[in-house]
Amino acid sequence: MENYVYIALFAPLVSSLFAALFAQKPKIQLVGIITSLLIGIAFVSSFTLLLHLEETGKAISVNLMDWIVVGDMDIKFGFTVDQVTAVMMSVVTLVSTVVHVYSNYYMESDKGFNRFFSYLSAFVFSMMILVMSDNFLGLFIGWEGVGVCSWLLIGFWYHRKDETRDVNPSISPSWAANEAFIMNRIADLGMLVGIFLIYWNLGTLKYTEVFAHLGDLSHTTLIWIGITLFIGAMGKSAQFPLHTWLANAMEGPTPVSALIHAATMVTAGVYLVIRANPLYDMIPEVGYGIAVVGTFVAIFAASMALVNRDLKRIIAYSTLSQLGYMFAAAGLGAYWVALFHLAAHAFFKALLFIGAGNVMHAMHDELDIFKMGGLKKVMGWTFLYMGLASLALSGIYPLAGFFSKDTILEVAFNEHTYGIWFVLWLTAGLTAFYSFRQVFLVFLGDERYHEIGAHPHEAKTYALWAMAPLAILAVIFGFFKEDFVEFVTKLLPAYEMSEHTEEMVWILTIITTLIAVTGIVIAYIKYAKGLKRDINFEKTNWLYKLLYNQYYIPVIYNRVFAKPYKELSEIAWKEIDMQVVDATVDGIAKFVEKSGDVSRKAQNGNLSSYLKWMAVGLVFITVIAAIAVAVK
């Protein structure tokens, strides 16, 4: 069984290294095939481990090697596959395999084909380290690894020039990549502080040991640890205020968005909270804070998606919103619910992104949905897939989203946090609305794409086959809920709904479905027949402008943080570095040179002067000898 752990862990690494060999060469199809195969092998291993764990119920631990053994500190490179890890591994590898296969189609005419697969597999490897590690430091390594790979992948087309914000809100791929990485880094500071606090107080970083001794710590310490760890999660999962990078991350190729910004990296934050559930169980006030932040982000992102015209950005805001749901569930203590939603969301969100990729390819990378329409005729399968995914996202029975999202709403109701319940309920309606707004504007109605001269066509067959597993899972995953609960609650606390909620379940379900259907119907009425734009409204209405410009938050960040920091950096460079540091180093060099020049003159070949120097040396030595003797 350990072999499966190693295979699952290292197959992506091998894949990445293999592709890296050819990174500078033009496209080699074999690279795409072999990398997809290796990731597929990783998926098979992960799933085998999942099944094995289901049978035996015992976690599998391997210890690769001792890593840091300094004084009292003994941190090993250890990996544990328990129930939570197995679920995460299976989800990650499944979506990764689909994305790898799909990328063969999407990146087929790109010059950096081999490089792309190398980065993508490296990302999968980092994510595996993250979820499989058995201590906080291994988690952190995976954390940083996915950050780096995300940077590499978002900035994949790094040679594109910067544009102004009104032309391209993300300015350029390299700018977006930097923004993503820097925001992650800011959050990582919080996470590091959290890890330090854990180590300082408990002397160990291994999950099992840390959670066993949490009771020894004071409540304040626990609160601090919980808050700082969540700050790290905020960066990775793009919670407010570190959320602007996720929308801008759409500058990367679409398979990247499908893998990283839908299914895996952004869920790392949720994974952290789920993994640290013993900690958060002891500090319910922090948990409540997390739930509030999550809820806020849910509606915040949904509001921005309502008016957006960019195909991928709408899906990005949707991801942001669903992450908010996950944090709300985790914050309220229903960890298995959050995990369940994480898995379900991974499937249908990745499907949505890949579908968007098909549309982009068909429309020659055009992203404005106002310029699309009526694509159903040409891209029937993509329409089906995206429709299914949107239905799942909206939480319509019997698709996966219904089971996961509704459970979250039930949890909110159960905890008597009716405010959270109301906001989440409203957001469900908004989610349904904007998802179907997108679907209808792209696939139904008048064919606006003729104005820009596009000739859309469906994606290649094998790409459509690759999307199939995700679609199937988006449909049937909900029915595995019972098995899932039984499986996962061997590790996670079982969250039982109270009696009161049991009665209310039917009413809640009906209300939720009602608002979702309402959203779909409104979208249908407005957009199914075609796009009717009111340019005046768009230009003058303050609410519209606020939402369209993302509440002007990117502009605020630029003016308040980015510009002053840049000025500070320039001062540090010009004033401090060049004039102080460089001058000092040059000064030392000049001093050495001059003193050498002066000393050279002592070698004049004149015996008399040499004798004088000998006398000086003699006096010097005798003085020192006398002092040494006197001191003794």
Binding site: Q603, N604, G605, N606, L607, S608, L611, K612, A615
Partner: protein, 101 residues
């Protein structure tokens, strides 16, 4: 007053410094040798004085050997001096700066 060890040591030191001053001053090679001889003699005086005052004969033995060494040194030194004079025609140290570097 009785002459103690200190008197002889002070005398030796004075003679040594006179010799040192000569060594540092002299630009003529031969006169440099004279000054070196002064220094050697000064140390001999010191050795002999300490030896007599402690009753230890090692000092006088040392002084004896120093005299022997000085003799050999003069012999070889003058031989070399003759060769230098034959080659460069001068014994002035300021002009003999061949090892300048």
């Amino acid at each position: 007053m009785t002459i103690g060890l200190t008197h002889y040591l002070v005398l030796s030191a004075i003679l040594f410094s006179v010799g040192l001053a000569g060594v540092l001053r002299r630009k003529n090679l031969l006169m440099l040798f004279f000054a070196t001889e002064i220094m050697l003699n000064a140390t001999n005086v010191a050795f002999a004085a300490i030896s007599v005052h402690l009753g230890d004969l090692s000092g006088q033995m040392f002084a004896l050997f120093i005299i022997a060494v000085a003799a050999s040194e003069v012999a070889v030194g003058l031989g070399l001096l003759i060769l230098i004079y034959k080659k460069y025609g001068t014994l002035d140290l300021d002009n003999l700066s061949i090892m300048k570097g």
